[in-house]
Amino acid sequence: MTNIPIIIMLAVLCLVGIGFYALLTTRNLIKVIIALQILVKGGLLALVLAGRIQGQVMVGQSMALTAIVADTIVAVVGLALAVQVRKHHGTIDLKQLTKLKR
């Protein structure tokens, strides 16, 4: 187990798994955004690791930078949405936000 890439990859897989599990089971909108963040962190790690193994650190880092920016924007807009949803519908429970469903 002294092999570094395998440790990091296991960590990445665990993060992705945790993120997906939370997306599958949670009904709270804020928890959904937190789960998305965890998921993207796993992706970040994988990107940088891949760049490092191939010897092109900078390429991996610039892709990771784009991912961080995108993910932050998602968190920002998502939280603004959550605040508005709370104001208009009074709940952030996903099961009760079904106004569009016939």
């Binding site: 997906f20 997306l23 599958l24 996903l94 569009l100």
Partner: protein, 581 residues
């Protein structure tokens, strides 16, 4: 040159559709004008394209690895159908100016009509089977949208959904054919397959042949899929003229004609085609005898004439079938549009409430009778020449029993045609207040009537164009005079004329024949129920809608379920990747 023309023919109606919809319903006069302008421009481009027809690929757009090349070919089969679609389309649009005057939702109507015209032109001009499937589905969509145009009338909506489901289920056959072609030859271009059918494994070729036959039968309302066409008559009449008489239902015949050299060696295929055409022609002629709705009679006669074309293809007479398609488009559009003028002025579609309209609608009477004579196959008009060519092809190449049934159908055609003309224009005058056709309607009807009288003169050049641009179909072209001589000299012509005369006499003497009529009373009952096929098709439609309602429960809208679906898809993709190596 040809490439720009093809782009114009397909693209102009689509641009027109977007513009008409965007302008909005408040400026309806502008909408009418724009629709006419774009459809006429597209018709002009299509006519010019006829002179530039060639057998080679004209446009080739690379669409990436899986979809291959989007190719367009301007060969004889395609350009004349594109010309028919756009020219008759523009005439129907001109007719709509009066027919749809003051209706709500005009933007939706014109947008769908123009979209359809572009889609139909694209269907016949492309040589990529996947792209042809795409255009096929576009025409089916527009047909549904236009049948159900009066969407607060439940009969219209039900008719539209029925047409949609039946033609879509048939389209699956076409998609299967496209995928088989791709898997065997690596591209969707069917021209190489038509030139060399040996490229495909024989069993898969048989599958493809019957898949295309099913798709064509569903689209062209042939046996056993024919019950959607009479119910599609809820559409506004210019739509019935354009889509359900002159263009979309010809797509199935076009498909069979296009693929004939590839499929003719498949055992049993030609016989199946002959049987499908023959049964459709015969059954629908019988059903037309007993119908009282004017548009329904015309719908049944459309199915019957399409049966003639399919029968001709089965007997190997590609040129005869295409020539009959050409004549049929003209006179059937003429009949439908004049029926539209009649229905618009009288206000009802039931022929029992019409009668004696001849005095008050002289112009309409003349054009309607011209169309009816062409339909019955009276000499000099274009229906006569083409029908005789079809029957001759049947006599020389097809089985005798099929020829006899088609001959009897020709007599039945004459009978119901004259019944229709009599019930509408002669006989006891109805008490309704009628007016003759309005100006825009006359502008649309006159060229069609002229075409019904003289268009058969184009037979020779048409044949030579087909021969020069379709090398695989082995068409033997003659000039117009030679065709005329051939028809006049063939004994089949006189047999057919005798049967038509018999039909006429039977109508004239119908009072003396009421005894026979009573004996066939049960036939009338069966005909009104479409010989049981209506029940089958109702069942298919009902089951499809039930399945769709069940599947709707999977759309929960809950994030958790959506993510679960995502993960399942991810697992499936990864497993496929792992197994694929």
């Amino acid at each position: 040159m040809a490439s720009t023309l093809i782009l114009l023919v397909i693209g102009l109606p689509w641009i027109g559709a977007l513009l008409v919809w965007w302008i909005g319903d408040k400026r309806s006069a502008l909408q009418h004008a724009l629709a006419i302008a774009f459809s006429v421009a597209s018709g002009a481009a299509a006519v010019v394209l006829i002179f530039n027809a060639s057998a080679s690929t004209v446009i080739s757009l690379d669409a990436g690895g899986v979809f291959g090349q989007f190719t367009f070919v301007a060969d004889g089969l395609g350009v004349y159908l594109a010309a028919i679609a756009t020219v008759i389309g523009s005439l129907a649009v001109i007719f709509s100016v009066n027919y749809m005057h003051g209706e709500k939702g005009l933007g939706r109507y014109y947008a769908m009509v123009l979209f359809f015209i572009g889609g139909m032109a694209g269907l016949v001009l492309t040589s990529n089977l996947l792209l042809m499937f795409l255009f096929w589905e576009i025409t089916a969509l527009c047909s549904y949208a236009l049948i159900a145009f009066n969407n607060d009338d439940p009969k219209a909506v039900a008719g539209g959904i029925k047409a949609l489901i039946i033609t879509q289920l048939g389209g699956i056959g076409l998609l299967a054919g496209a995928l088989i072609l791709y898997s065997q030859t690596g591209s969707y271009d069917f021209n190489q397959m038509i030139a060399n059918p040996g490229l495909i494994n024989p069993q898969l070729l048989a599958g493809m042949a019957f898949g295309c036959l099913i798709a064509a039968a569903a689209k062209s309302a042939q046996f056993p899929f024919f019950t959607w066409l009479p119910d599609a008559m809820e559409a506004p009449t210019p739509i019935s003229a354009l889509i359900h008489a002159a263009t979309m239902v010809n797509a199935g015949v076009y498909l069979l004609a296009r693929f004939f050299p590839a499929f003719e060696a498949v055992p049993g295929w030609k016989t199946s085609v002959i049987i499908v055409g023959m049964v459709s022609a015969f059954i629908s002629a019988i059903m037309a005898l007993f119908a009282y709705d004017l548009k329904r009679v015309l719908a049944y006669s459309t199915i019957s004439q399409l049966g003639y074309m399919v029968f001709a293809i089965g007997c190997g007479g590609i040129y005869a079938s295409q020539f009959h398609l050409f004549s049929h488009s003209i006179f059937k559009a003429l009949l439908f549009l004049s029926a539209g003028a009649i229905i618009h002025s009288v206000g009802t579609r039931d022929m029992r409430e019409m009668g004696g309209l001849g005095k008050k609608m002289p112009f309409t009477r003349v054009v309607f009778i011209i169309g009816a004579l062409a339909l019955a196959g009276i000499p000099i008009l274009n229906g006569f020449w083409s029908k005789e060519l079809v029957l001759e092809a049947g006599l020389t190449n097809g089985p005798v029993w099929a020829y006899i049934i088609m001959l009897i159908t020709a007599g039945l055609t004459a009978f119901y045609t004259f019944r229709m003309v009599w019930m509408v224009f002669f006989g006891k005058p109805s008490e309704k207040h009628v007016h003759d056709a309005q100006p825009a309607m006359k502008v649309a009807l006159a060229p069609l009537a002229l075409g019904a009288v003289v268009a058969w003169l184009l037979a020779g050049p048409f044949a030579s164009m087909l021969q020069s641009t379709l090398p695989a179909h082995k068409i033997h072209a003659l000039s117009t005079i030679e065709i005329m001589m051939e028809v006049i000299k063939a004994p089949a012509t006189y047999i057919a004329l005798a049967v038509v005369a018999l039909g006429l006499v039977a109508w004239w003497q119908r009072k003396n024949l009421t005894g026979i009529g009573k004996a066939f009373h049960w036939l009338g009952y069966a005909a009104n129920n479409s010989f049981g096929f209506e029940a089958v098709n109702k069942f298919i439609v009902r089951e499809t809608q039930a399945v769709a309602e069940e599947l709707r429960d999977t759309q929960t809208g809950l994030l958790n379920w959506n993510i679960a679906g995502l993960l399942i898809g991810l697992i499936a993709v990864i497993i496929i990747l792992v197994m694929g190596g």
